[in-house]
């Protein structure tokens, strides 16, 4: 019996050992599979890196972003201010834009106008502004960035405000990606610039005309986005006289924004883990004098006039 026990114990030990080996083997296979996936991804990334290396080298590790022009113009509607077509760049002006510099800036301008029209359900004008953007995009050589199915979807969703917004912003994101990955970053920067200038033009005109506090504040909050825009444009300062003048005028505008009093208080945030939402409770406040409001508004009009005519 003792011998049997020893044999049984050995058998049990062997079985445990075998199980352990089998488990380890399976675990190694599992990890290897994961590593193979990683290596494949890594190789893919290397190949991808080769394709875009010229672009990657131009990027820095710090980027300056701008809030969506759509959001700025949306605050006009949410303040119950009526639609004002006079604020838009007329579609007839499109024939004036002969250079790539003007075309890119005005794709941005018309894009913001398109968003503004969409917010106020101005369907017939949405169609004509979209047509103008398509025309300028073609002249600028961006037809490859505009996928045919996107154009079809936009045209089919003209009457659906929400879908149209998704498609318009999606189109501008595609433009942006195309320009960044096809060594045409400057056109992308100009589209961004035109869009931002048009949005603060709409804000400033409404601020002056209505004296609405929410709109005035939104205008005052553009100090950091303007600083960011100047940072984005600065690598092109010496590229041409047009760039130099544009950037100089924005720097001049930034001096006026320095006169706005901006205060900030940090407060703890609340987290809703289930819905993946953090509420940022920190407070900011903007104080802008009537003098600064008028000066800023005039300077924005002046910059915009040079772009759209």
């Amino acid at each position: 019996m003792p011998n049997f026990k020893i044999e049984q114990t050995n058998f049990m030990l062997n079985k445990v050992h075998f199980n352990y080996v089998l488990f380890s083997f399976l675990l190694v296979i599992l990890i290897s599979c994961n590593n193979i996936t990683y290596k494949e991804k890594s190789n893919k990334q290397k190949a991808k890196g080769t394709d875009t290396s010229t672009v990657v080298l131009k990027y820095h590790n710090t980027l300056f972003t701008l809030p969506s022009p759509y959001q700025a113009t949306h605050s006009v509607k949410s303040s119950d201010i009526d639609f004002n077509k006079r604020l838009l760049n007329p579609v007839n002006n499109v024939s004036n834009y002969a250079t790539n510099f003007q075309q890119a800036l005005n794709i941005g301008v018309y894009g913001t106008d398109l968003g503004y029209l969409n917010i106020y359900d101005q369907i017939p004008d949405v169609i004509s502004y979209f047509t103008v953007i398509k025309k300028l995009s073609k002249e600028l050589g961006l037809e490859n960035a505009l996928q045919v199915e996107i154009i079809d979807r936009i045209e089919n969703n003209i009457n659906n405000k929400d879908s149209l917004l998704q498609l318009i912003t999606g189109t501008y994101r595609q433009f942006d990606y195309y320009l960044k990955t096809n060594n045409r970053k400057e056109a992308g920067v100009l589209i961004l610039t035109g869009g931002w200038i048009e949005s603060i033009y709409i804000l400033s005109q409404n601020a002056i005309e209505t004296n609405n506090r929410q709109i005035i504040n939104r205008l005052g909050e553009q100090k950091h986005p303007l600083d960011n825009l100047i940072e984005i444009l600065s690598p092109f300062y010496y590229k041409s006289k047009e760039y130099t003048e544009l950037i100089d005028s924005l720097v001049d505008l930034a001096y006026e924004f320095d006169g706005i009093i901006y205060s900030y208080t940090y407060l703890d945030s609340n987290v809703d883990k289930t819905n993946k939402i953090t509420t940022i409770n920190s407070k900011s406040n903007v104080i802008i004098s009537e003098y600064h409001l008028k000066t800023i508004s005039n300077k924005i009009s002046s910059i915009r006039n040079k772009i759209i005519y």
């Binding site: 991804k41 980027l63 972003t65 809030p67 969506s68 959001q71 940090y266 900011s284």
Partner: protein
């Protein structure tokens, strides 16, 4: 032996399901697919190269009264992507380390705030890769 193999099979299935559930595809090609559920793109694709400390920084302004989704993407899978958001006084507003390194999170801003969004990889080796940030805002 059969029982053991059965247990192993269950273990593999469990691990696979668990891995799939936690791992959201935040590769640069799939990034835009994380911008859904009513969030609209701000119209930009922010692509930055990692600095020597494996950090990329993005200076952003978020409007008060708005809700945003911030998505961080990369093709690096060997190290977890750390997404942090600071105000300009360097107060930490969010870090995804506390939420299983989720590649995206939603934010509701009560006031307009300028922020610094950082994408980082915790390793000594300079990864020299590019990372992508997408920002979406919620339609009202």
């Amino acid at each position: 032996m059969k029982l053991f193999l059965y247990k192993i099979l269950i273990l593999i299935v469990t691990l696979t399901i668990n891995f799939s559930a936690n791992a959201q595809d935040n590769s640069t090609t799939n990034c835009v697919n994380l911008l859904n559920e009513g969030y609209v793109s701000d119209g930009q694709e922010y692509i930055a190269k990692l600095a020597e400390n494996n950090v990329a920084k993005f200076y952003c302004t978020f409007y008060g009264g708005s809700q945003y989704r911030i998505i961080a993407c990369s093709d690096i899978t060997k190290y977890p992507l750390i997404l942090s958001i600071y105000d300009t006084e360097k107060n930490l507003l969010f870090c995804n380390k506390e939420y299983e390194y989720t590649p995206y999170w939603n934010f509701r801003f009560t006031s307009t705030i300028d922020c610094i969004v950082e994408i980082e990889f915790d390793t000594e080796k300079w990864l020299k890769e590019e990372v992508k940030l997408l920002i979406g805002f919620k339609e009202k």
